[in-house]
Symmetry: C4
């Protein structure tokens, strides 16, 4: 119907740029929540006491920063295959960015109530939603040939699904455990990003 | 007068990059306004009570985030047709960005005084101004062949005008209703972004 | 000495991207300084009283936003001619960005002590320094053929110098006047960005 | 194993864009920490007294801004040679960005406890870690031919290592001195960025 010359490409570059901005701000804002500690004296003991007091804050900051980094990577990988966008794809992208922007908030909540089940639940749900919304966006995109920039190998499709849905599953486990042993839930939050360093089947597609 | 080789292109890419940065920050900043709730105890009742208290804040956050996402989309679409800029076009762009940057402020105002007519009025006016300034910029740009990158089909021109001016009209309605039934105004703010998912005549130009 | 193949281009794109990010954040942050007004009642009088109280804040916000927009434009124009960078050019760019990042701070200071000579002085000096550091960067860049992307017409060189140095001169005038009639200084701050809409000799080089 | 057509390039552009966003926000956020001074009267003496009180804050702001600018430059230079990425390289990049995002926090800490050994230690360690994580990322990247965009001259490799590791060494010295003469440590923080203006062996590779 619409002549070829009037069809728009709607390249994904702008959506990626918006995402880079949002990730950049969300990652930097994590640290604003860290209040500068008040020092009582200049002895070594005072310093280590202050460090100890701030340690949960720092831990939550580090976990969230690395988790956001990993999600950024997943998001970045998606656009290796998807090179064009449409209205619905962008809408799904906005939903993904919305839950990403919640992370500094839930991180602060976790830092304040670290071992409480509700903080672990809210934080775990937030991280799960990040993965789930990204997976929905990915699923929508790869089904439409008009959005794909290059063919998607079947192995990548399978492996990507596992990688997208593995961490929501793990985070749900952490939420359940939080009602009994919250220390273990925090441990799961710490270990999950470390697992990311393990080689996976997608590595052979990368340089 | 000016020889061809001295004429500048002033491609729109940089203005788009500034816009992506501003949208990225404005969207992320929305969440800073959400204060971390203070929990009184760790029972389920305390948790749901806290959730209930924060629910208006979250609702306003979600509405504004999605509205900003939709405006970003309109802005992004504009640059499919307009590929060059000049001093006045950039000035109009700065005005558009200025009202966009107000959104986190008016969102916070609405979150604080949700059912008051003045909060609804200020918020509705802000969103209307976003659309109106973007429409002015668009109208300026499409009238100048030197700024256009590709021909603008008549149907796109007509449909874009409707899409740009529809929501200011709806928001004005919400403002008027706010003096009688503020709940309905909030309902209008919620429904308007949902309407965005309905297919429109421009979709067939997209991939 | 260095073989041609080992010479780096150091294209200006990345420095521009950093600048777009910094401008984007600085412009959005202006509005964070606007505190949400506390409303005492829901009468029209309470609302206009609140508006009146916040009016200086809004005025300072609008002035600074537009001034930053104009500086962004000057900065953007510079890179139409300068397409490569080196260590010193980037260092001068960092200085420019540093004074730009001060603007939200001095704006807040002006909003708080609007009619005081010291607030006007600090604000005027800040804006002047923005222009002066940008002018230094520009002067450094256009003297080095290796950084230029296209020949710089003599008229552009002359006109750009006037445009860069005019507003520092005007702002210095505003500072001096502030000791006698601060209202006039604020008027100068308001009018200066409006003057920007007047056509100038560079317009004919643009699309 | 993987056919050539399925191999991804994973160009570094997106990682650079994320970095530009993070640097842009971190640099702009430095200034948020500067509280607007409270003026007691409008005499010149009150003004200079206020200036004097804020002077350490300003000094720390200026030092950190320029140091971040220099680190941005190092980061930017890295991507002249490295044009592709992989999962581990991006992970190292996220670590680098994480310590960069700490700088506004440690700057605020230094501004508050300027002459205390612990503030100098935390600040010096932060800046050292920035350089060290960037150096690790660089070392990882230049060892993998698949990531390199152009051959890396041996002189650049040698000189870059010196430039990357010199400032951590200097900052460690500043930390040690802080236990005896904190004024000297602050002096070292001031002088280090100035040293950056001295020509070095890499300059001849630049335009």
């Amino acid at each position: 119907m619409v002549p070829e010359k009037d069809r728009l490409k709607l390249a994904s570059g702008r959506l990626e740029a918006l995402g880079d901005g949002i990730f950049g701000v969300a990652m930097t804002i994590l640290v604003i929540n860290l209040g500068v500690p008040v020092m009582k004296g200049n002895t070594w003991q005072n310093f280590t006491a202050s460090l100890h007091e701030s340690s949960t804050d720092f831990l939550c900051y580090v976990i969230s920063f690395i988790v956001l980094g990993i999600m950024w990577f997943g998001h970045r990988m998606m656009f290796e295959y998807i090179g064009r966008t449409n209205r619905h794809f962008i809408f799904l992208g906005v939903l993904f960015y919305m839950v990403i922007c919640f992370v500094p908030f839930t991180t602060q909540f976790l830092a304040k109530y670290t071992l409480q089940w509700y903080a672990i639940m809210v934080y775990g749900l937030n991280l799960s939603l990040c993965n789930i919304t990204l997976y929905i966006q990915w699923s929508y995109g790869i089904k439409r040939a008009a959005l794909l920039e290059r063919p998607l190998p079947a192995e990548v499709r399978r492996e990507a699904r596992i990688l997208f849905l593995l961490s929501p599953a793990v985070y749900c486990l952490a939420i359940v455990i939080a009602f009994f042993q919250p220390y273990i839930s925090i441990g799961i939050f710490i270990i999950t990003p470390v697992l990311y360093l393990i080689p996976n089947k997608l590595d052979k597609y990368l340089p």
